[in-house]
């Protein structure tokens, strides 16, 4: 409760209690992407990888977490950067119930979100419980350069 809204610094990006729908997922992805480019000096491939992986976690929350209930609930995005270890950890969580392990309704056009997250992040873990789902992704060797601020604004 003390943590609703946004906090934004070089070591932390936090947006909690965002409505878990497609439009908010797109908006949140955009804001996260701005934060990433502002504080980190990453090559375009790494930026793409991180933003896409985060998008897929948000998209799953928006699409699946509250599909069994009438109105979508909340999702949360937290990014923490460990300056010493140079590790970026991103956690996307919700209080819903994913229904994606539903083998019967397997559709060829679906189901690439989790393989994408696993391919794009250095490590990925997904914890599901009756209380909700938490996706945690880590990237190693993430270089945060003070100059990144000027570089990003030059584009």
């Amino acid at each position: 409760m003390e943590d609703s809204g946004q906090r934004d610094s070089r070591t932390r990006f936090a947006q909690t209690s965002v409505l878990a729908d497609a439009a908010c997922a797109a908006q949140l992805r955009q804001e996260f992407s701005v934060w990433l480019k502002r504080y980190f000096a990453l090559d375009p491939t790494k930026v793409s990888d991180v933003v896409l992986a985060v998008n897929e976690a948000l998209a799953n929350a928006a699409e699946f977490a509250y599909s069994a209930v009438e109105r979508p609930g909340a999702m949360h995005l937290l990014a923490d950067y460990d300056t010493h270890a140079e590790v970026l950890t991103v956690t996307v969580s919700d209080e819903g119930a994913w229904r994606i392990a539903d083998g019967e309704k397997k559709n060829i056009s679906r189901g690439r979100g989790i393989p994408l997250m696993q391919a794009l992040a250095d490590s990925t873990s997904i914890d599901s419980s009756p209380a909700g789902t938490r996706v945690r992704m880590e990237w190693n060797h993430v270089d945060a350069t003070e100059n990144a601020t000027t570089d990003a604004s030059a584009h």
């Binding site: 797109a26 955009q30 375009p44 491939t45 793409s48 990888d49 897929e56 998209a59 690439r112």
Partner: protein, 119 residues
């Protein structure tokens, strides 16, 4: 593209001889993927020999957009060939990573795609 919303997507279709080219620009995510799906279905109605989805100007491609390519391939084959043009960290890289390119033909440029499809 100035003034365009950061999360929007622009789609244009044109015909080059017997090939229909669906040019997509901007963001292809769960919000805009249905528009791309409709545009491909519309392009296929005029019975082209092939539909080329040109993603050269796509800056963000989510799995929702990849799913559209896979289901289009499934629906159009074998009568109509489907090809995708993409080259970059935000497009061709994830398409290769999850194996979409095992199913859908990928070309780096529109010229390469047109050459391959007309030969």
């Amino acid at each position: 593209m100035e003034g365009a919303a950061p999360n929007s997507c622009a789609i244009e279709e044109r015909r080059i001889d017997s090939i229909s080219v669906v040019a997509v620009a901007g963001v292809v995510d769960m919000l805009t993927a249905p528009d791309v799906e409709k545009a491909i279905a519309e392009a296929a109605k005029s019975s082209p020999s092939a539909v080329v989805v040109d993603m050269t100007e796509v800056e963000f491609l989510a799995s929702a957009g990849m799913g559209v390519l896979i289901s289009a391939q499934d629906e159009l084959a074998p009568a109509i060939k489907l090809a995708v043009v993409a080259d970059g960290p935000a497009t061709s890289r994830p398409l290769k990573l999850v194996g979409v390119t095992d199913v859908v033909d990928l070309y780096a440029t529109l010229d390469e795609a047109l050459t391959a499809l007309t030969s």
